[in-house]
């Protein structure tokens, strides 16, 4: 498969681009929900609109009412989300949670709502401040015909508005994933506003009882599913970071073409030209890496695992470079809340932390390569 978008994929990109620029734009979504101090951090009407557009069904099989597309297509939508800072549950619900439910009986329970843009699912994996899925300690004890879950989770994005959670816990047989409904007895959800105005949650599980049919896949077989889920999230986050970087860079390059100092357009200064050109090169490389990772995921290529970490680490570093250069080159105005460039900086930081940052993924790549 050539490493550029097919005609169909380019069409999806154009659709997603105009949708996000219109419906999902910063003023109408990001700022609006931030400024009203919304408890969800996003608008449900827009999420339903995602459903009407078919975006929610990108990774859902056609037999289940979805579009049956792949990670490349999810990445296309995510890049446009990143470019416009569109607040939505797309990455977590329509990518990682859908990936978790794929091929399991639980999909009948949850997919129709997700497809319609009515339901929000969240991912409860991390327990510490940094992404460490290898160190999951939450316990799942056998209890009645099911399990009792005890422990805590944090950085559960959209956790405060989620209808259910995909939860990773240790059963006697090994790591197991569960679908746990909001309002379960013993489950405490505390919403926390993050730097980018999105809402994450801390979850406390105090012997939360779930039936055996809440198990996603097989008991003790959670590691393989979790790895699929995390790869989907990591590749998706890479695309969203490429989008964030592109949005920030476009804004910055526009500014270089307009702002005058010393009687010149600042874009005429070679120092700034070279920094902008360096950023361009880095961004193109990150975009290629994300697309490669997604193609490999869709094809089941053997290098997919490594390439996902490459894509996430590279996109993370480039996105950070883009927002830093963006704020710096905007000068004083870049520090104001009124200007949008700073919003990109905040979103970048959250996305970088979400599925493991560039340090985590460089280390993971090194381990995969045997050093």
């Amino acid at each position: 498969m050539p490493l550029y978008l097919t005609d169909d994929q380019a069409m999806l990109r154009d659709t997603a681009r105009s949708f996000m620029a219109g419906e999902g734009a910063i003023a109408s979504q990001y700022r609006k929900f931030r400024d009203m101090n919304c408890k969800d951090g996003f608008g449900h009407a827009l999420w339903r609109h995602f459903g009407e557009m078919g975006f929610t069904g990108i990774l859902v099989d056609e037999a289940d009412g979805g579009l049956g597309l792949g990670h490349v297509e999810a990445g296309i939508v995510l890049e446009e989300i990143g470019r416009n800072l569109t607040p939505s549950p797309f990455l977590i619900t329509a990518v990682t949670v859908v990936e978790a439910l794929r091929g399991t009986p639980l999909r009948e329970r949850w997919l129709p709502g997700i497809l319609a843009g009515e339901t929000v699912g969240a991912l409860a994996v991390d327990e510490g401040a940094r992404h460490r899925p290898e160190a999951i300690a939450m316990q799942a004890e056998r209890s009645g015909n099911g399990f009792a879950l005890s422990g805590r989770k944090q950085f559960v994005v959209q956790g405060a508005s989620a209808d259910f959670f995909v939860v990773a816990a240790q059963a006697a047989e090994g790591l197991t994933l569960f679908a746990v409904e909001k309002g379960a007895n013993g489950l405490d959800v505390e919403g926390v506003r993050l730097a980018d105005a999105s809402i994450g949650a801390r979850l406390e599980f105090e012997r939360v009882e779930v039936d055996a049919d809440a198990v996603i896949g097989e008991v003790g077989q959670g590691e393989a599913i979790l790895s699929r889920v995390l790869n989907a999230g990591r590749a998706g986050a890479a695309s969203e970071m490429v989008g964030v970087a592109s949005g920030a860079m476009d804004m910055t390059v526009d500014y270089l073409r307009q702002r005058k100092q010393f009687g010149k357009l600042i874009g005429e200064f070679q120092t700034l030209q070279h920094r902008a050109a360096h950023l361009y090169a880095e961004l193109e490389i990150a975009r290629a890496a994300a697309l490669k990772a997604q193609q490999l995921l869709d094809e089941g290529g053997s290098e997919a695992e490594a390439m996902v970490s490459v894509a996430n680490a590279k996109a993370g570093r480039v996105s950070t470079l883009a927002v830093q250069e963006g704020v710096q080159m905007h000068g004083g105005i870049g520090m104001t809340d009124e200007h949008d460039i700073g919003l990109y900086m905040k979103r970048d930081r959250v996305l970088n932390a979400l599925f493991g940052d560039a340090y985590y993924h460089a280390d993971r790549l090194a381990r995969l390569k045997g050093y």
């Binding site: 005429e268 030209q273 050109a277 590279k314 390569k369």
Partner: protein, 387 residues
């Protein structure tokens, strides 16, 4: 089976049968490559055989037309051929400025007669070419070149000096930028000329580099007579040919950047990293960059073949690829420690690591400096205002 699947099966079988075992290993530096030429210096019988077998099928230049010695393959078939070569680690059968630089320029700007005359011999590796672009006062500011070319009716007369002519001492012919109109604005009085390095009046002298090697030369032209039909394109329009060719040169340099075999640097250095966490971290970061760049290279080639690449994109590839290559060799030197610093010993294979490290420093200078490439990106891709 589709045609492409059949092509893949047949190509795989052919390569398995015809690629000698010795040629299924990465090239160990510039001196290990097969360059062809009038008096070819093959490193081994296998190297000779491999070049000849590939040339016979036109696969030294798989996507050139068959009429000009090429393989006549489509973009998709060419990609399959590359994938199948990569699968068995088959090396490039012929390294040639004729293939990577002059050929594409002739295909676009050459007369039919010139294409028929020069392209097949390039494909077969019979003539080794060098490039006469830079001059002592025309490096980054290439268009200020002064080598004088006068129309003497039945021939051109060339006088002047070139510098940084890679392998001029080993080359058979030169493709050369010359000034045919000294009154015109500097970009408009340049022509693109081909001639034999054995012509009377051509002399050349190697320039010793910090690596102790001299891939580059100074080249002098003293009343060199060149037949009239060896000028490519129109008189005084050579700058168009030159720019087009530079794009291909940048493409080639960026492709050479990573050694091509896709191996992780960390995996290669693994035992030297185990007790050095900071170095391991730097190498891991390099591997992220290198694998991401490799994806970019694949994307760039796919986009080129599909006509989707921006004309200034080779500048981006050249910039990123050569900076990355320098970073790679800094890490190799750091990991090698004292071993890598031995300049002449057998242990160090004659200071191979150190000499290659020093050689990479020219990567971001030759073929247009990194700063020139960044300027091109800023101007032609980002459309930042000119000064």
């Amino acid at each position: 089976m589709t045609d492409l699947e059949t092509f893949r099966t047949e190509t795989r079988a052919w390569l398995e049968t015809n690629c000698p075992a010795e040629m299924r290993a990465p090239v160990r530096g510039e001196s290990d490559m097969c360059w062809g030429g009038r008096n070819p210096a093959f490193q081994s019988e296998a190297q000779k055989l491999w070049m000849e077998r590939m040339a016979e099928r036109g696969w030294t230049v798989p996507d050139w037309p068959r009429d000009y010695g090429g393989g006549g393959l489509s973009a998709a078939e060419t990609k399959i051929l590359r994938q199948e070569m990569a699968r068995i680690g088959a090396r490039n059968p012929l390294m040639s400025f004729g293939i990577s630089m002059l050929g594409p320029a002739l295909l676009k700007y050459g007369s039919e007669e010139q294409k028929k005359r020069f392209l097949p011999e390039i494909a077969r590796g019979e003539i080794r070419w060098c490039q006469g672009y830079s001059e002592p006062n025309a490096g980054s500011d290439l268009a200020s070149l002064q080598t004088k070319c006068e129309d003497k009716g039945d021939h051109w007369l060339v006088n002047g000096q070139k510098v940084w002519t890679s392998y001029a001492d080993k080359a058979d012919w030169i493709f050369c930028l010359v000034r045919t109109d000294s009154q015109a604005p500097k970009h408009q009085g340049i022509s693109f000329l081909l001639f034999d390095m054995a012509s009377p009046g051509v002399s050349t002298r190697p320039i010793l580099l910090i690596s102790g090697y001299s891939p580059f030369c100074e080249t002098f032209f003293d009343d060199v007579k060149v037949p009239k039909d060896q000028l490519v394109g129109e008189v005084n329009k050579g700058w168009d040919v030159a720019k087009y060719l530079l794009g291909h040169e940048r493409e080639m340099i960026s492709g050479m950047g990573l050694g091509g075999n896709g191996e992780s640097l960390g995996a290669a250095l693994a035992e030297r990293l185990s007790d050095d966490p900071l170095l391991r971290a730097e190498v891991a970061r390099f591997d992220v960059d290198a694998m991401a760049f490799r994806a970019m290279s694949e994307r760039f080639i796919d986009q080129l073949k599909a006509g989707q690449a921006h004309p200034a994109q080779p500048s981006m590839m050249k910039y990123a690829g050569t900076e990355l290559n320098k970073a790679r060799h800094e890490l190799v030197m750091a990991a090698g420690g004292a071993d890598a610093l031995e300049w002449e010993s057998e242990r160090s294979k004659g200071g191979k690591a150190a000499r290659e490290w020093l050689r990479t420093k020219a990567n971001s200078i030759e073929g247009g400096t990194s700063e020139i490439q960044l300027g091109i990106i800023a101007k032609h891709i980002l459309r930042l205002p000119g000064t």
